[in-house]
Amino acid sequence: MDTLIQQLINGLTIGSFYALVALGYSMVYGVMKLINFAHGDLFTLGSYIGYTVLVVGASWVTATFGIWGGMAIALVAAMIGIGVAGLVMERIAYRPVYKAGRLPLVVSALGMSFVISQGIMAIWGPNPQAYLSGWTPKDFLQFGNIRVPVLQIAILVLALGLMALIYWLVERTTFGAAIRAAAQDRDTATLMGINFNLIIFFVFALGPALGGMAGVMQGLKYTRISFNMGWLYGLKAFTATILGGIGNIPGAMIGGLLLGVMEALFEGYVSGAWKDVFIFLILILVLIWRPTGLFGEKTAEKV
């Protein structure tokens, strides 16, 4: 029972990272019909920006703003930095080839993925780096036999809060309705006075910004980061996107959380070494039996 609860909490935490990254895939795909394969590497870049804020400023940022303030600054820095990186990427890697069709876009996305991950290696070096524990809170909450780090709870609450915010924005506001309208029918949305370029700007800033924040959260939770971790994270988050139904915002969130929980349960009860195989087995099974994902009907109508 304790293992179950422990793994559920762990699963929700990592699942919330997948969900935040999956939101970026799903938003960009919904509007542009483009799978942004560089998205996982933006996640990594966010992790390194957070690392830099905490390392370079370890004595200054943390000393001035305290442990929580330092982490908040790292998160905001990654959010802004990766939001801008997303916009730059759209400008240089995608906009010039929109007219060429979907395949050149995918190639450009893969190229961008290598550029970012190799760029990270060039700047921060090929060895993994660590979010040192001196910059993060070490308190635990004790529930019976279960010990949960306060930091993990804070991360989980923040991630779920961000998801709730995005859900509200996309599903409940007029601007969100405009994003969904533009995703569905660009020409008709233009007739309504929706500026498609504004929508592109929005998804390419917000999607990556969420991924960048998830990158910092991953560093805070697991401490170890490496320049090429975005590949595996990206693929898992992509699996979550497919699981929930690509282009579907609530689907991406639920797909991410579900995938994280399944991974943690598999790790806890079956095998930690085989968990990645298990995740990609899920991807294959979903693609075979339900390619539109769990919340696919709505998406099928959209496309």
Binding site: T174, A177, A178, R180, A181, Q184, D185, D187, T188, A189, T190, L191, M192, G193, I194, N195, F196, K298, E301, K302
Partner: protein
């Protein structure tokens, strides 16, 4: 009367295929003009060019005397143009209300406030069915209801010029009748200038003051609607050789 819309020798092509080969037409303020023709004659191409969804090869389009290229496509709704596209094109995964809100998205002065609510009430009076179904996803509506929503979505921005692309397409006759009744009402009560594209020549000529008949990208015939209804070529090709009461002509305008 001042012209709200002037199209001059418009050429539009899709790659090597010429869709419009030098179209000129005019719509006066408060007037209602029909553009008729069979499938592929270039009717939709004409409307899409006016809305700047297509870029013409040459020719000019003027909106109240100003070159339409001055405005970005998404800014045209601010200029009072509402384009109700062919095939309704409602946003299927948005609710009826959200679809209506999209109709004023580009109109800053109409940001959901009093004015918006008043206009929406008026649209619900025109189409009571939309009121019943306001919380429903637009994709679950019937074809006729979707057309009502498409027109309502165009009307909610209180346009001065409406471009209607085949509003009766694929609708049961009784529903089409209803749609045409509302178009007439909008035109008469709200003084909206209307450019109506239709395949249903009989209905369109019953409604419009003036008509253009498009054949493979060119204007084949044009004239007062009542003259067109009595034109032998029009009767044979578009009205199925129906007998039309000639005396209707005088009482029209």
């Amino acid at each position: 009367m001042a012209a709200v819309l002037q199209v001059e020798t418009l050429f539009v092509s899709y790659g090597a295929v010429e869709a419009l080969k030098g179209i000129s037409l005019e719509l006066d303020e408060g007037d209602i003009v029909a553009v008729l023709g069979s499938n592929g004659a270039g009717k939709t191409t004409l409307l899409k060019s006016i809305s700047r969804l297509l870029v013409p090869r040459s020719g000019s389009i003027r909106l109240r005397g100003a070159d339409i290229n001055k405005f970005a496509p998404y800014q045209l709704i601010q200029q009072g143009i509402a384009h109700v596209p062919e095939g309704r094109k409602v946003f299927a995964t948005l609710t009826v209300e959200e679809n209506l809100r999209m109709g004023v998205f580009g109109v800053r002065t109409m940001a959901p406030g009093k004015e918006y609510k008043k206009t929406r009430e008026w649209i619900f009076r025109l189409f009571p069915r939309l009121l019943e179904r306001r919380k429903q996803l637009a994709g679950t509506l019937s074809g006729g209801e979707q057309q009502m929503l498409a027109i309502g979505r165009g009307l909610i921005s209180k346009p001065s010029l409406m471009l209607l692309d085949e509003p009766s397409l694929g609708l049961a006759p009784v529903i089409a009748q209803e749609i045409f009744r509302v178009i007439r009402q909008i035109h008469q009560e709200e003084k909206v200038s209307i450019l109506l594209v239709e395949q249903n020549a009989r209905k369109a000529l019953g409604l419009a003051r003036y008509g253009y008949i498009l054949e493979t990208g060119k204007i084949a015939i044009q004239g007062e609607a009542c003259d067109l209804r009595n034109d032998e070529r029009v009767k044979a090709a578009y009205l199925g050789g129906a007998k039309v009461n000639i005396s209707a002509c005088g009482s029209m305008s």
